[in-house]
């Protein structure tokens, strides 16, 4: 006979295993992508398909890197992400600092405008922005890829929410000690907000790295494509087999999934901070 304690343990272990199995079923498409990316083209066209490869091979990865400038795509994605994240962190810190620590005419109106940007989805203005970028002659440039992602209402809102939680007498004390306005921002407010900035940065990385619509519109030269756009063109190419497409897809997925797994607490914080009341 099992004791009550043992029974409880068996029960909790069973529930744990069921929950993990559910999770594995849920991420099956990811497993499928990896499992078939290490199979030869012959096995992929042979019925029936087998999830576990008999002779696993990394040939698809070698081939896709050889045929397609994946490294250039990845480099473009990293440049875009880095610039956009730095831009958003800097510009949103500056703006949030002004909104929290200063009183000035038109402050209410300007903050309302920041909130108003959150009511206009990027998808509504994407076509007109494309025309703007085209008129400026910026198609196929990093500027085109980066400019619209340099600021967002959400990031200003997030930084502002954080600054509002800082004790109010910090600034007064710093000013009495002879600290200038900008000195307070750089030497006190910014270092204190590192956790919030990290949340914002990790959240933005996943979001910007995964962008599709905008980079699709403003790039048409192969060497300027981001990884997502590069991968999307593989499926329409004739010289690339399906195993190689899957290999390319797995390469594109790895960075954001790794960042997600290690930074998920930051992402959750970033996502939920500005989101819901209560």
């Amino acid at each position: 006979m099992m004791t009550a304690k043992q029974q409880k343990k068996v029960k909790s272990n069973t529930s744990f295993i069921i929950k993990v199995i559910l999770g594995i079923i849920f991420i099956a498409p990811l497993i499928i992508g990896v499992a078939f990316s290490i199979q030869t083209e012959e096995t992929l066209v042979t019925y029936p398909l087998k999830l576990i490869a008999e002779n696993p091979t990394i040939q698809n990865y070698v081939e896709v890197f050889r045929k397609v400038p994946l490294l250039a795509y990845l480099k473009n994605s990293v440049i875009v992400c880095a610039c956009a994240i730095i831009g958003q962190v800097v510009f949103s810190s500056l703006a949030a600092y002004a909104f929290v620590y200063f009183e000035f005419p038109l402050k209410k109106l300007l903050f309302t405008l920041v909130l108003a940007t959150m009511m206009i989805p990027g998808e509504v203005v994407v076509i007109t922005n494309y025309v703007t970028i085209q008129n400026m002659g910026l198609i196929n440039t990093y500027m085109a890829l980066i400019l619209p992602s340099l600021v967002s209402g959400t990031s200003i809102f997030l930084m502002r929410q954080y600054y509002l939680t800082l004790p109010k007498d910090f600034k007064e004390a710093a000013t009495l000690d002879g600290c200038s306005d900008m000195g307070f921002l750089f030497r006190i407010a910014t270092p204190l907000s590192i956790p919030t900035i990290s949340s914002l940065a990790v959240y933005l990385f996943v979001q910007i790295y995964n962008q599709f619509f905008w980079p699709l519109l403003v790039t048409n030269k192969d060497t300027m494509r981001t990884i997502q756009i590069g991968i999307s063109f593989l499926t329409t190419s004739d010289i690339i087999s399906y195993g190689q497409i899957l290999a390319g897809a797995v390469v594109a997925i790895v960075p954001s999934v790794v960042v997600y797994i290690f930074g998920q607490d930051y992402i959750i914080k970033g996502m939920t901070a500005g989101g819901v009341k209560g």
């Binding site: 744990f16 929950k19 993990v20 999770g23 594995i24 849920f26 991420i27 498409p29 990811l30 992508g33 078939f36 019925y47 510009f91 500056l94 600092y97 002004a98 929290v100 620590y101 200063f102 000035f104 405008l113 920041v114 909130l115 940007t117 009511m119 206009i120 989805p121 998808e123 509504v124 203005v125 076509i127 007109t128 494309y130 025309v131 703007t132 400019l147 619209p148 600021v151 939680t165 109010k168 306005d181 995964n210 619509f213 519109l217 997502q228 991968i231 999307s232 499926t235 399906y242 497409i245 899957l246 897809a249 594109a252 999934v257 997600y260 998920q264 959750i268 996502m271 989101g275 009341k277």
Partner: protein
């Protein structure tokens, strides 16, 4: 919006330029890539454009009447709403179950918590490559499993479901996270006292967890509607709006008109229509919020 009070910064001094300088970069970018294009989109919806998408001449409401009088446009709106409804119901259902399963923090619960949210970190383009392999007719995975020979993405009854399935898979993670945060905020002692009063698990979910987490549930419902309206990549990569326009949504129609057909003024009308649709749902959200939601 802001729940906290702004800092009372006493002494009225003369206007200093510093706060304006701090806000200037953000405002310049907003003006250029949000306000200006928004106003321009409205203006161009009343004009004709040239091939490059620039103004050529005024036509008043002609674009609007042309777009709104077409049955094909309302068909697209209908598909957009249908997809939003399907995505909303399925995403909520699965996310709710996952969040309830993961609410209690135990050792290694991070393992399944990570898995339930993981697809949200995956971009639509590589995900589409994998789903194309699953859906393909010739020795595709789904046909292998079911022993069928269906062209899932090019036959009318199945295409919309195939697209929705991928969207739902990608959207569950975000909903799961918000719901999880909400469910974990439910005070433990409340659940315990309900348990002592003899409330079973389902009763506790219905009478305590769901009402207490209603702000998050409510938020996630409208978040899903909005993100479904904005779903573009799946349609572009899986079906291009086909077969026979059965998966053509508003956002894809806008893209097709502007980029493929070069009809920017038509795209502008539809973009403003999309804005109004999203705006309408936001108004509904705000109007219902205080009636439906239980704030602690």
């Amino acid at each position: 919006m802001s729940r906290q009070k702004e800092l009372p910064l006493a002494k009225k001094k003369r206007v200093r330029p510093l706060p304006y300088l701090l806000i200037a970069p953000a405002m310049a970018l907003f003006t250029m890539f949000t306000f200006y294009p928004f106003i321009r989109t409205i203006i161009l919806s009343f004009a004709l454009t040239n091939k490059a998408g620039n103004f050529s001449k005024w036509v008043g409401f002609a674009n609007w009447t042309r777009v709104l009088s077409k049955a094909s446009f309302w068909n697209v709106v209908g598909i957009t709403l249908k997809m939003a409804a399907v995505n909303l119901i399925c995403t909520m259902l699965v996310a709710m179950i996952f969040a309830l399963l993961a609410t209690k923090k135990v050792r290694f619960s991070k393992v399944y918590q990570t898995m339930y949210a993981l697809p949200m970190a995956i971009a639509s383009s590589p995900a589409a490559a994998i789903f194309l392999f699953i859906y393909r007719q010739k020795n595709g995975l789904l046909n292998n499993i079911l022993g069928t020979n269906i062209s899932w993405l090019t036959e009318k009854p199945t295409a919309i479901w195939a697209v929705c399935a991928m969207t739902i898979w990608m959207h569950i993670g975000v909903s799961f996270i918000f719901l999880l945060v909400g469910f974990r905020n439910v005070p433990e002692d409340l659940l315990e006292s309900a348990w002592l009063d003899g409330a079973g698990p389902l009763q506790r979910i219905r009478h305590i967890i769901i009402p207490m987490a209603s702000p998050q549930i409510f938020f996630v419902v409208f978040l899903n509607i909005a993100s479904s309206f904005k779903t573009f990549a799946q349609i572009k990569l899986l079906t291009q709006g086909g077969p026979a326009n059965s998966t053509k949504t508003l956002i894809y129609y806008i893209y097709e008109n502007a980029i493929i057909n070069g009809r920017f003024e038509t795209a502008c009308v539809q973009a403003i229509f999309l804005f109004l649709l999203i705006f309408l749902f936001t108004r509904i959200q705000f109007a219902l919020e205080n009636k439906v939601v239980h704030y602690q």
